[in-house]
Each structure stands twice: as structure tokens, then as C-alpha cells.
Amino acid sequence: MNCLIFGYGYMGKLRAQVLRQHPGVRTITIVDPALATAPAGLEARVLPASAPVPWDEFDAAFICTPNNVTADLCVEALRRCGRVFCEKPPGRHWEDFCRIQDAAGSVAGATLVFGFNHRLHPSIEAAKALIGEGGLGDILYIKGTYGKSGGVRYRENWRNKREISGGGILLDQGIHMLDLLHLFLGELTVVDAVLADSFWGCGVEDNAFVLLRSERGVPAFLHSSATLWKHTFRIEIGCRDGYVVATGLLTKSGSYGREQLVIGRRQFEDQALALGNPREEIIHFDRDESWEREVYEFLAAAKEGRPAAHGTLEDARRVMQVIRDVYALEERRLTLRSAR
């Protein structure tokens, strides 16, 4: 396959690395206004950003750009190529997403995948396998925390400029945790939310507290933050017969800690010596294949002309709908407050 990558920032580089390893990828072409020639060590062609894209030459497109151009490129790529892998978030806001959705609906046999790789992390896959009929029973509740510390260049980053990004930490990073909540609970509605721009003062939220409920009434809570001075990924899932707690993420920097899953079984005093302190098992993971697997699945789906198994348009709709509702709730509160 001949692959075209729009945007050669952090995500574009990562996608290029994965594509290089794929046996079915023949060529990689990059379009990035900041790139004049192919990066050292990468066998790739660079197209000038101002030149027309020769779409006939490409079998698949990867949209790895800032959010303000995501929807335009995604819509064009869908119409001209039909096989598109788009980084999260799917646009700046609900309207951007709807444009992408409409374009996907108008192209017969289109393959569209969004980069929600967290559901392919080993701790999450293990949790999914153990919940329900896996032994732990139905879910009673979920609490998820995902956050980072920002850093000295945080304010300069396009991700925190509303006109480019469309939102703050909830849209940028919290979206992954929202996707996981949907993975475990299905469709969610917003019960309440509190957003705060408490430290960075960028005009977008640096903390989001969101209370949700599933269609079956299961409550879920999300804290998405850009002021967690210790980088944190933690999802706690309470079930009828036990619980799982996934913490840490296998990342390049390792700043989220060792990825692990704690598994505990419900034990009352008739089964254990101490009530409320059940025997736990901890699985430590040292291999993350989520980046490879989501791209491989996209390319396989594109080749076979079938829908992808994950990162679907429906997955994207669910998270964007929750984010839309949270931002609308906050907007109404601000309007009410200023009216008083």
C-alpha cells in the first residue's frame, strides 16, 4: 500500500515508524508545512504543502495534524481516497465531527478509523476479558483519572489554544478515558460536570470532572487534568464479584509508571481472614503493541473493504457527544453566572 501522512509532529512520526515495519506498505509520503525534505533515516517522499495532492497515487491517508485542520483533511481524504486513519480528537467540536460523519456516510465502502489506542493497551484488554462472564461479574461503577503536569511550554502548545484545538485537557487527553468508559459501559450520558482553568490560564479547561451514567444506570466518574504534577493513568472498575484497577501506561518516557492491573475478588468474612482486604493479583505488563495493532487493523480493514474492529465512527460519536454536552453544560453555567 502507498500511504500518505498529513502532519509530521509527534503522532505523524509515530505512525511513520509503524508503517515502516508493516510488510504491506510500499511507500510513505509526508505532507507537512514545516518539512521541506524527507527526515533523516526515513525512506519517505515529502510533498510540498502548497502543491495539489495526487490522490490517485495513495491507498490510505493518515491525518496527524492540529485539530483545526483535521475535519477538512479528513473529509477530503474520505472523498478522494476512501481509506482514512484520523488521530483523536475527531475535530475541534461536534460540528467538525458531524462533517466527518457526513463525508464517511456519503462514500460507499469507506474505511475510517480514529486513533483510540488506549483500548488496546494490555491492562485494558485484560480488564475487559475478566469483567462480566470473565469471572468478576457485571460492572457496578467506574472511576477514571488521566492527567499530566503540562510542562514549561504548555501555554505555547497549539493544544491549549482554543481557536486551534477547540477545547482543553478533556478534549485532548480525557477523550481517551472517555473512550474507555464507553468501551466498558456502552452509551453514556452526562449527569454533571465541572470544568476549571485553575492553573495554566490558557482559556481552556485544565481540569475536568465529569459524572456520567450508562443506559443501564451504572455510574462513572472521570477526572481529566493538566495539573497532575505526578503523571497519572488510573481506571478503577468495581464489579459484583470483584474489581480491577489498571494503573500506569507503557509509554516511551515511562512517566505514567509501570503498566499494571490489580485484580481482586470479593471476599466477605466467611471466605477470608480480614474483611475488606481481599487477596489480590497484580499483572505487570512490559509490552505495548497498541500503536502497531490499531494501524495494522486499519490497513487490514482497508484492504479487505470491511469496517475496522475498533476506533470506529460510532466510538468517535460517543465521545464527541459527551464532550459536546459537557462543554454545553459549562457554557450554560457561565451564561447564567454572568447574567446574575
Partner: protein, 327 residues
């Protein structure tokens, strides 16, 4: 790949008490010497993992062991030919099932603390790997205590058995060649004369993508490292091979298996060293090692948890997939 840490707790006395072991061990050593005295022997001079010349590791009551300079695995140097070794393993297996050994006296306790966690481990792995309606093969020298438990567990549609020496040496009868989706090797690689050949035999019966469950005692674990060949739990024929964790992982990889889990969820390392020290207070342990084994229960539990977390306990369990994980 994953590493599993458990909070299982049980005392050494409930599964393999040192006093009870000593008698059984002597019987094993005597049986091994008798097998070696029976005629021609085979001398292993090269590492079963790296192929490098074995260095002398010392001897267990006169029976020499050699060490792989690359991985630290240790191997009994002199063995009888395969048919003699097969007879020896059969004799020892029968002995374990007799009323003469601690295995019989502690049968229920061993079921609860040794076999039940292994069943749960297999069950959970099958769930994690999405393997359902599978057929399993247990490779052993019969009779074994685990086979019936495996059959009764309902995890597999069928549980077959294969003799480990026959599988290693291609001696299985026609009609016993059915392929399966899971193979269980409980400490089998520790005792067969040719672990590489056994894994090749396993690969012949295990479907591509099928799961291999291995347990073993490893030389890189705490009690094995501290005690070396003084460790009374190291003796032939049960421990003719004592791989290091690195050595065992490498062997499996070399034979075409992809490692999915490499854990050392042992709970007895510290207690084993302490039991040896009580038996022989003159054991040459460093002051630091003595501090560790004489520490209070909380510190010992924390240290044992550390050993589990970082692959440093002597009991290992491995899950491997035949072939590669990603296409």
C-alpha cells in the same frame, strides 16, 4: 509480555516440608545412582540453551552439575541413556504417589496450595487469550496428581496426556498424535533428559497459535541463588535441569514460542532459605542475607513481593504461544 504477582500465602510445611523432602530426596538420589550404574551413560558437556561448554557447578552428593556460562542455568552432567532415564522417571513418579512420601501425607494441602492456583492461572490465561472449547495435552510421566484436576475443571473439552520421554524422543504410538490448542508442562523441562527435544515434540502436537503452560524451578531465583547446590530442593532426577529464568525464556524463544507471561509468583523463597539455615546454622550466608531471612513477617512478605514483581523468585510459570503474536 506480562509478569504476575500474587498474594497467595501458605507455609513451606503445607506443601514441601524440608524434613519430609529429605527422605524422598535420598530415594531419588539412590535411584539416580542405580540408573547410572546400570551401564553406558551420556555425558552432557554443552549448555542446553546456548550450546557453550558447561562450567563445573559442583556436585549434589557426588552427582556433578555443570553451569551454562551465558545464562547461569545448571544441568546434571551424567545421565543414563533415554530408556534408562524414562524408567527412572517412572519409578520416581510412582514413589511420589506412594504412601512413603510427604506428597501423600499432604495431598489435600498440596491440592489447595499448589494445584488449585495453577488451575486458576490456566483458567485466567484462557480467558485473557480468548481461548475457548480447547483441547489440552498434559505432558508428564504418569501418574500425575494434576491430570484429574485438569479434567474435572471443565476448562477444556478434552484433556489428553503424553509421556514426556516418549514425546521428547519421538516414541509416541500412532494414534497418539492428535493436535491440541493447549499444552501443560508442569516442571517437565526440569526433569527430561533433552528439554529441547521435548519442546520440539510439544510443537508437533500444539497448533500454531496454541498456548504452552510451563512451570519450573529456576536457578536465578532467590533461594536457588543464595543456596546454590546446597539447596536440598535441587536433586536428580526431578531437577536434572535447573534453568535460569533467562535461560528458560531463551530456550522457549529459540524453539519458536512467543512469551506471553514470564512470572515468578513463588511464595516460599525466604522460608526455604530460613529452613536450610535452621537445619544447618553454619551455612555460609552473608550478614545481609541473614538479616533478610531473619526479618519479621511484614518485611519478609514485602521482600517476597519484590522478588515476585521483578522475576526473582525461584518458582516460575510461563505462558508461551506457538508462533508469533502479531501477523
Amino acid at each position: 509480555m506480562r509478569i504476575v504477582q500474587t498474594q497467595e500465602r501458605f507455609p513451606l510445611s503445607s506443601v514441601k516440608p524440608l524434613d519430609g523432602l529429605v527422605k524422598y530426596r535420598q530415594q531419588c538420589l539412590t535411584a539416580t545412582r542405580d540408573a547410572l550404574a546400570g551401564g553406558a551413560t551420556i555425558r552432557r558437556t554443552r549448555s542446553l540453551v546456548s550450546g557453550r561448554a558447561l562450567e563445573s557447578a559442583g556436585a549434589v552428593e557426588g552427582l556433578a552439575y555443570g553451569r551454562c556460562p551465558e545464562t547461569g542455568s545448571v544441568f546434571l552432567v551424567e545421565l543414563p541413556p533415554p530408556e534408562g532415564w524414562k524408567r527412572l522417571l517412572a519409578d520416581v513418579s510412582a514413589l511420589r504417589r506412594s504412601r512413603e512420601t510427604f506428597h501423600f501425607e499432604l495431598a489435600q494441602s498440596r491440592t489447595d496450595n499448589v494445584y488449585a492456583p495453577k488451575l486458576e492461572w490456566i483458567r485466567e490465561t484462557l480467558r485473557l487469550q480468548g481461548l475457548r472449547q480447547a483441547r489440552a495435552l498434559e505432558v508428564l510421566t504418569a501418574p500425575g496428581s494434576f491430570t484429574e484436576l485438569l479434567k474435572d475443571s471443565g476448562m477444556f473439552t478434552e484433556v489428553l496426556t503424553a509421556d514426556e520421554m516418549e514425546l521428547a524422543h519421538g516414541l509416541a504410538a500412532p494414534g497418539q498424535q492428535d493436535t491440541v490448542q493447549a499444552v501443560v508442562l508442569l516442571e517437565s523441562l526440569d526433569r527430561v533428559d533433552d528439554p529441547t527435544a521435548l519442546l520440539q515434540g510439544v510443537a508437533g502436537r500444539l497448533e500454531e497459535g496454541g498456548l504452552l503452560f510451563v512451570t519450573a524451578l529456576v536457578s536465578s531465583g532467590f533461594d536457588m541463588s543464595v543456596l546454590g547446590l546446597r539447596n536440598l530442593y535441587l536433586y536428580p532426577p526431578d531437577r536434572a535441569n535447573c534453568f535460569s529464568l533467562q535461560g528458560l525464556s531463551k530456550l522457549l524463544s529459540q524453539e519458536g514460542f512467543t512469551l506471553l507471561e514470564v512470572s515468578t509468583p513463588g511464595v516460599l523463597d525466604v522460608e526455604i532459605v530460613r529452613a536450610h539455615l535452621q537445619r544447618d546454622p553454619t551455612l555460609p550466608l552473608s550478614a545481609f542475607e541473614r538479616q533478610l531471612v531473619e526479618a519479621n513477617d511484614d518485611m519478609q512478605a514485602a521482600f517476597q513481593a519484590f522478588l515476585q514483581q521483578w522475576g526473582l523468585s525461584s518458582f516460575t510459570r510461563i505462558v508461551a504461544r506457538r508462533g508469533t503474536v502479531m501477523a
